[in-house]
Symmetry: C2
Subunit: 603 residues, 2 copies
């Protein structure tokens, strides 16, 4: 077979080194992190940052997407002795939309037999956690969440009643999973994943969507977009393909993805019945679930909360039903005048998921698609059903998160979070934005970034990105990057506001670099070093300006930072205590300036 | 004189018509608005939207920046009989940084004598308001704020204790100004302004900064940037020029600006003493205030809150003092070991401002420049001084707003707003962002847009934009537009959350257009029609796709909106009441779906 190796972005980020931190409970756990070095004049150790980019940024890794990534979890899975290899479902022409010959995306070159839980075994992280087991995945996550921070970090923030520990232990991870407050999406057939966790008491995560559609895009593009999105910080990727070649494209993505992959199985099921919602059956859907579970999809969006009696609640809405999965199910229910087969067969869906450890992302099929429709009866009726389904899934040892809106004005965001925690017993929330206004197509990464930051602060565990193309078209590479960076900002702003210990280290490092005119460090510590450098160079392109003690905004004479250095130098000369005494006038409105010890430079 | 007419962007926005609404108390009041038309199939009247763009978007206006804009307020000012024309201060070489010959920006061609209040007269909108007078400016603003909405609009939102009326009357405007809760920046020497108001009980406003610096940019660029920024929605513009040619450039900007212009007079004063902060004197500063007041600057940022005894409080900060004006004054205080001359002469500054109606924007010279420094002792000590200065200014009938941060994590934003309201007796707050994290240079319009939306919701009256170039370089045209649009999003999201009556009309209009696949209407109703159209056309360029009942994201088979239409059609066929009865199953978890009346199409 002669499949070209498509162009994939590899190589580290500037001034960054990939390190691996080993486990102690499980010595074969090796947790990747990125260390960013700063200029020697700073006198600071390199800053470790969370690294979702996988082996693609490791210069020592051999990348060949025709072979796929190393199966780092394979040994852990096998060691549990509760899975079996089997032949698996045969690939059918409809899996790829009946496409043939040249138009068929090539099969992934390496074929392997799928695993499943042995008869009666729940092979989910939830089942292990409930049994008191700390899996290698859990230790991996504990190390990853701490990012080499001190066991006791200074605390700040308002966590709205969350339970964020000073330090994440493997046992804490286990207990959060056992309680259903966090999930580890980790299908046993996706051993390539570097484990990650989604829960309110951990770092806020982000998801990037991609996928081919009937209108455009190819397999190569999609694999590259996945690699591109994790390079900039996507924690999970959803493959929302809807065109042909869905099966083969997904195989390429999963085999090459170090992050969990989510899907909406309904999209492929609908392709199998030629796009006619009414023709969907439980059997076609069930077959699709097994197909995808065998491939290694880590979480399924299932719109089982859209029930027949809720459909009329949407008819007076300004924008009706805007979830694709939700509208497909609504149409099916309406046409057949029957209850949703997803709802009726939810038990059986759980049985499939527990055999492979596919986590649920219970879809919000009735989420509001406009400010006008936010927090309405339809939306909250569905949320209550999702709470009911959560309990059913938990009873089957299945992991669950809950999807949320959508379009919501700021004053209605917190109600969403509070109601979700209440209805769904603290199962993790996973929202799309929300967009805080409808009037800015072309900028919906921003309208939604505002809402995402807020709901992340309030307790939302994962934020699904929105790109600038939302409502208008399919995102290209630049849009994917903009969407990911915007959502990294929202997630990080939420981490700061929640008071995740150590979250502020990167802010402090870049601020010190700013104050000391270490321009290269400012670029390197930025979420997007390339853009930061490029913007600086647009005004001051010369290399000499990278060491200048001013910038183009104020020029040398007006630089407040430079003046602040003069002030600090002057203060040091005199000694702060003397200075404070000298300046203390005790105006009736003010507290006297406190005497402070002598300053350390560069502190 | 042969001055070329620089290229200025003129012409209306797509599907938009400029209308003028006349006053009733003052029949010579003509308030500009933009009406956006939608497709006839919508059966909707055109949507009036707030229009800050001035005559530049009026096809009937003759634009010649060498002549300046019509002086629409001139007659109103003269009719009050409390001003006098006088010779004014002579222009000195230092006003333009001693630049000569070819390097001197040409003088504005039309010369006119300045106005000032007659001996003992306060010619401020605050003085008039306190005297019970409803000025034409106030009626203009009342009409402008209402945007032709119904007297009783449906209310939603959480206004955090503000006092937002159902309908804005001229008397309400007067009373808010009289109470100091709102300001109308309107120098009597800037009669070209279309009056606007800044206050917590009105629409949230945004400011765009521009200005030449020692390093780059020219006069033509600056005038065009001003016109460009108001085209996209800037409500005021600050001219922060710091290089040479400051006087002449400012004259060009003011004569052509329909929005209030703010400055930081300290920047020019410092140029006059060759950039040596220690050489500043009260006399140079005073002279600069009069120079700028005579030109028509509408508000002055004065960093009179930075006092000698506060300087040591900043020495342990991560980023010291980041306000240029603040650091200049701190350096002056430190060098001379004396109290700030701005603080000591604040009374006299008020006397100047009341003669011209220059509003104060009391500068936050000690605002935090990093997440680490937010809400610290230095910042809040200054805020208390600003409260003290507010009372002094009010006693002189001067209008006041208060500047605020800066860099603040989300959980500390509300404290800023609450403390400002308390310290400054509800004088309007005007903040820069705040940026909610430090780690995303290149995206600080977004890091700050999050904070801006939140503080706008909490009660901040005006949001100073931040462009993508913040911390890195000088914004170009694209950056200015991105900054303005981002801040229009933040301000509008805040208006929605505060529950400004009628604010949601535009969201609803665009959402209806979305639901009905009126693509052209979606573009035209967007904050940035050009980008919305461009993004759509990147994936679906053909004209036919503009009427397609699907988009590139899902393609025709998966379109949720289309399916929703099917659902609505089905519902209509049956009649909702029948349908609801049929579907009502009364599952124990749900309220039964309410019987609803028959649907109106396109509602």
């Amino acid at each position: 077979m002669n499949i070209p190796n498509p162009k994939i972005t590899t190589g580290g980020l500037p001034a960054s080194r990939k390190i691996y931190v080993e486990g102690t409970l499980h010595p074969n756990v090796r947790v990747p992190m990125r260390e960013i070095s700063v200029h020697p004049t700073a006198g600071e150790s390199p800053l470790p940052v969370y690294d979702s980019s996988g082996p693609y940024t490791d210069p020592d890794a051999q990348i060949d997407i025709r072979k796929g990534l190393p199966q780092l979890r394979r040994a852990w899975i096998e060691a549990r002795s509760d899975v079996e290899e089997y032949d698996g479902r045969e690939i059918k022409p409809e899996d790829n939309g009946f496409v043939e010959g040249d138009r068929l995306t090539p099969e992934f070159p390496v074929n392997s037999r799928p695993l499943r839980g042995k008869e009666g075994k729940a092979v989910t992280q939830l089942a292990y956690a409930r049994a008191g087991i700390v899996t290698p995945e859990m230790e991996f996550i504990a190390i990853r969440e701490n990012q080499l921070r001190e066991a006791i970090a200074p605390r700040d923030g308002n966590d709205w009643g969350a339970n964020i520990p000073d330090y994440v232990t493997p046992e804490f991870v286990r207990d959060e999973v056992a309680a259903g407050r966090a999930i580890i999406p980790a299908n046993i057939n996706h051993p390539e994943t570097e484990p990650m966790i989604i829960g309110r008491n951990f770092l806020v995560k982000i998801n990037a969507n991609m996928g081919t559609s009937a209108v455009t895009s190819s397999m190569e593009e999609e694999v590259d977009k996945m690699v591109w999105s994790i390079r900039w910080g996507a924690d999970t990727v959803m493959d929302l393909s809807t065109g042909r070649n869905i099966h083969n494209t997904r195989e390429w993505i999963i085999r090459n993805s170090p992050v969990p992959i989510g899907t909406v199985p309904m999209y492929q099921a609908l392709e199998k019945v030629n796009g006619i919602a009414e023709d969907l059956t439980w059997e076609v859907f069930r077959d699709t679930l097994i197909e995808q579970a065998e491939q290694g999809v880590d979480y399924f969006t299932i719109h089982a909360g859209v029930r027949l009696h809720m459909v009329p609640l949407t008819a007076k809405r300004v924008t009706g039903i805007v979830s694709r999965g939700g509208s497909i199910m609504a149409k099916w229910c309406l046409h057949h005048h029957r209850e949703s087969f997803l709802y009726e067969h939810f038990d059986e869906i759980c049985d499939i998921c527990r055999q492979y450890d596919v986590a649920f992302s219970l879809g919000d099929g009735l989420r509001p698609g406009s400010i006008a429709d936010a927090n309405d009866e339809a939306q909250f009726a569905e949320l209550e059903t999702l709470g009911e389904l959560t309990k059913i899934a938990w009873a089957k040892d299945c992991q669950v998160m809950i999807e949320g809106p959508g379009h919501v004005a700021m004053h209605k965001i917190k109600e969403n979070m509070d109601k979700q925690l209440e209805c769904c017993d603290e199962a993790p929330f996973y929202t799309l934005g929300p967009l805080t206004t409808d009037i800015a197509p072309g900028y919906d990464h921003i309208t939604s970034g505002i809402g995402a930051a807020m709901i992340g602060w309030f307790g939302c565990a994962m934020l699904c990105y929105v790109t600038p193309k939302e409502h208008l078209g399919l995102p290209d590479r630049d849009d994917v990057k903009t969407g990911v960076i915007t959502y990294k900002i929202a997630a990080h702003a939420a981490d700061l506001a929640k008071g995740i210990p150590g979250a502020q280290r990167r802010d402090d490092a870049i601020s010190r670099a700013r104050f000391e005119f270490r321009w290269e460090d400012q670029f390197n510590l930025a979420l997007d070093p390339e853009t930061a450098r490029d913007f600086h160079d647009q005004t001051l392109p010369k290399q000499a300006h990278k060491v200048a003690h001013f910038c183009s905004m104020c020029g040398p004479k007006f630089c407040s930072m430079r003046i602040s250095h003069d002030i600090r130098a002057e203060a040091q000369k005199e000694g702060m205590a003397v200075m404070a005494a000298k300046f203390r006038e005790g105006g009736e409105l003010y507290m006297p300036a406190e005497a402070k010890p002598e300053l350390e430079p560069g502190e």
